[in-house]
């Protein structure tokens, strides 16, 4: 390796340290996808209008499944009243002390019997999450430093990555350590209750303004006080033998995931971070309220013929997709072997209820639709309808 090679690596690492923040990336992608979808819809409508004028409008019927092609009969009945996300199990723990500048945390459901208390501050940029879970989580060990620490008499572990520029050695390219300072405190608060407190920012060489002692103080300050989940989605019916697994309340959709009631206690996924839902919960059934032009719904439309050219010149050709038609009684679609029920929300037809179950779960189409029809939106829902 010569000097120029080394200088290039260094120059590129310097550039990388100045890259834009990824904080709003996920929401921006969803917003852009919806805007893109609206643009495409406009194009398709215009094309159909032109075809109609020349006397040849073509209607593409969505393919429905042959009634004889029944999957294995569902083993579960749609019967159990599920209530709303607000009446889902509340977090049993709340924060008692936070460093200056952090507002009252919001509550998320991260898994069965697992919650996240989320807060962030812009001055002294830091995102903070207190995770409560029923089993011991995996501790990170590198490239930061892991050391034992006393938390109110309990022995905990404290993992720490100091402030550094993104991507510089030894923090590499793997998040979350690559992106900036990161701290993680793990301890057992009581039998069957483990706590992981994460503080981080993705701004690189911007100090958190939070010390290791602050993390310990947050841990010792936790109190037994219930915090309810936001009232974002209300379900009248659900299959039996599932329990709440995860709730995601975002402007691009409210997602409620349900897991097998027999799923053994397990810790929150190590990838679960304050910046978003990163963990998987092995959901059996997912119920969502989405804008009608959400990509998940658009993807159920009927694809047109393969394009013959690449108009963007980017080597990635796209088929135009006709939006799915959703009748008043709802409709079930198939995508990659999964059955997905869509049902327009009665209170706002620009929002669509989306219900999908694992194929192995064995829910019949009628049950998917029954669940979808039972869904109502809650007052705390963050989802924004299509414009």
């Amino acid at each position: 390796m010569n000097d120029l090679d080394n200088e290039l690596r260094g120059a590129m690492a310097d550039l990388a340290a100045e890259a834009p923040s990824s904080h709003d990336l996920l929401a921006a992608v969803h917003r852009r996808g919806r805007a893109d979808r609206r643009r495409r819809l406009t194009t398709v409508v215009a094309a159909i209008a032109v075809l109609a004028v020349v006397g040849g409008a073509s209607v593409v019927a969505l393919v429905s499944r042959d009634p004889g092609d029944r999957r294995e009969q569902q083993r579960l009945q749609v019967a159990t009243p599920a209530g709303s996300s607000e009446t889902a199990p509340p977090s049993p723990v709340d924060v008692g002390w936070l460093p200056d500048g952090f507002p009252k945390p919001s509550v998320r459901l991260l898994g069965p019997n697992a919650w996240g208390l989320d807060t962030r501050r812009e001055e002294g940029l830091a995102a903070l999450q207190v995770q409560i879970m029923p089993a011991e989580p995996d501790a990170r060990t590198e490239p930061g430093t892991l050391s034992p620490v006393s938390v109110g008499g309990a022995v905990g572990s404290l993992y720490w990555v100091p402030t550094h520029a993104p991507g510089v050695p030894p923090y590499g390219n793997r998040p979350p350590e690559a992106e900036g300072p990161y701290g993680e405190l793990i301890f057992q608060r009581r039998p069957g209750q483990w706590i992981r407190i994460i503080v981080q920012n993705s701004a690189g060489a911007v100090d958190l303004g939070i010390t290791q002692a602050d993390l310990v103080r947050i841990g010792t300050g936790l109190v037994d006080r219930e915090r309810a989940l936001p009232d974002a989605i209300r379900l009248g019916l659900l299959p039996g033998h599932v329990v709440w697994g995860q709730l995601k309340n975002q402007d691009y959709g409210v997602w409620a995931d349900f897991v097998d009631a027999d799923l053994p206690d397990r810790p929150v996924d190590r990838n679960e971070q304050p910046n978003g839902h990163n963990g998987s919960v092995q959901s059996q059934v997912s119920v969502a309220i989405l804008p009608e032009d959400a990509l998940e719904i658009a993807g159920l439309g009927q694809s047109g013929p393969p394009p013959t050219e690449d108009p963007d010149g980017d080597g990635l050709v796209e088929r135009e997709v006709e939006p799915p038609s959703i009748p008043a009684e709802g409709k079930v679609f198939e995508q990659d072997g999964r059955r997905i029920a869509l049902y327009r929300l009665r209170s706002n037809p620009k929002l669509v209820v989306y219900v999908v179950a694992k194929p192995s779960f064995g829910m019949a189409d009628e049950d998917l639709l029954t669940v979808a029809a039972s869904v109502r939106i809650g007052p705390d829902a963050a989802v924004k309808p299509a414009r």
Binding site: L4, D5, E7, L8, R9, G10, A11, M12, A13, D14, L15, A16, E18, A19, P20, S21, S22, L25, L26, A28, V29, R32, G33, D36, P166, G167, N173, R174, P175, A178, E179, S202, K248, N271, Q273, N275, G276, H277, N278, G279, S280, L295, A298, G299, D312, G313, D314, G315, L316, E318, Q335, D336
Partner: protein, 167 residues
């Protein structure tokens, strides 16, 4: 879900920052980097369930859009103007060799040469892997790298001589 069960949101949350770094090193432009990454992710989202390796897919999409964007803009660009102005404020030749000046020189490279160098020196990819992403042969990758490095050396020597330093 992809075939390995990773959700789109999880992928973006975990890899978004790395993608933005890659796009920014590639473009040197905040807005363009965000634009390329968002557009690539929207495309990936549409076909998420059919993507086996989202990392490679999205990176390829970012790269192809960068090359495509540059093609559309190339007729209006005068890339050599920028680095000379950037380095003109430097006092002596030694600074030409420093990283800041090199960043300016890097911006003068033709798009494919810059892309190949970024993939080699920032992403640490081999020629075959780069060829797969860029859409050319490994021999072409080596040619782009060689020309890019030669051009950087020449530019550095030119600027260095102009400001009285040692190459």
């Amino acid at each position: 879900m992809t075939s390995d069960g990773e959700s789109f949101d999880s992928y973006v949350s975990a890899q978004g920052a790395a993608l933005l770094r890659f796009a920014y090193v590639l473009t040197g432009d905040h807005h363009l980097a965000e634009d390329l990454v968002q557009e690539a992710l929207v495309k990936a989202h549409r076909r998420w369930s059919r993507i086996d390796q989202p990392g490679a897919y999205v990176k390829k999409a970012v790269l192809r859009q960068y090359l495509s964007w540059r093609r559309r803009r190339s007729s209006a660009e005068r890339p050599l103007d920028v680095p000379i102005e950037d380095t003109a404020g430097l006092d002596h030749a030694q600074q030409v060799a420093d990283r800041h000046a090199l960043r300016g020189l890097l911006a003068t490279l033709p798009r494919q040469q810059r892309a190949v160098l970024v993939l080699r020196f920032f992403e640490d990819l081999g020629d075959e892997a780069i060829a797969g992403l860029v859409g050319c042969s490994a021999a072409t990758v080596r040619a782009h790298a060689s020309k890019g490095l030669s051009r950087l050396r020449r530019s550095a020597r030119t600027v260095s001589a102009e400001y009285g330093g040692n190459p």
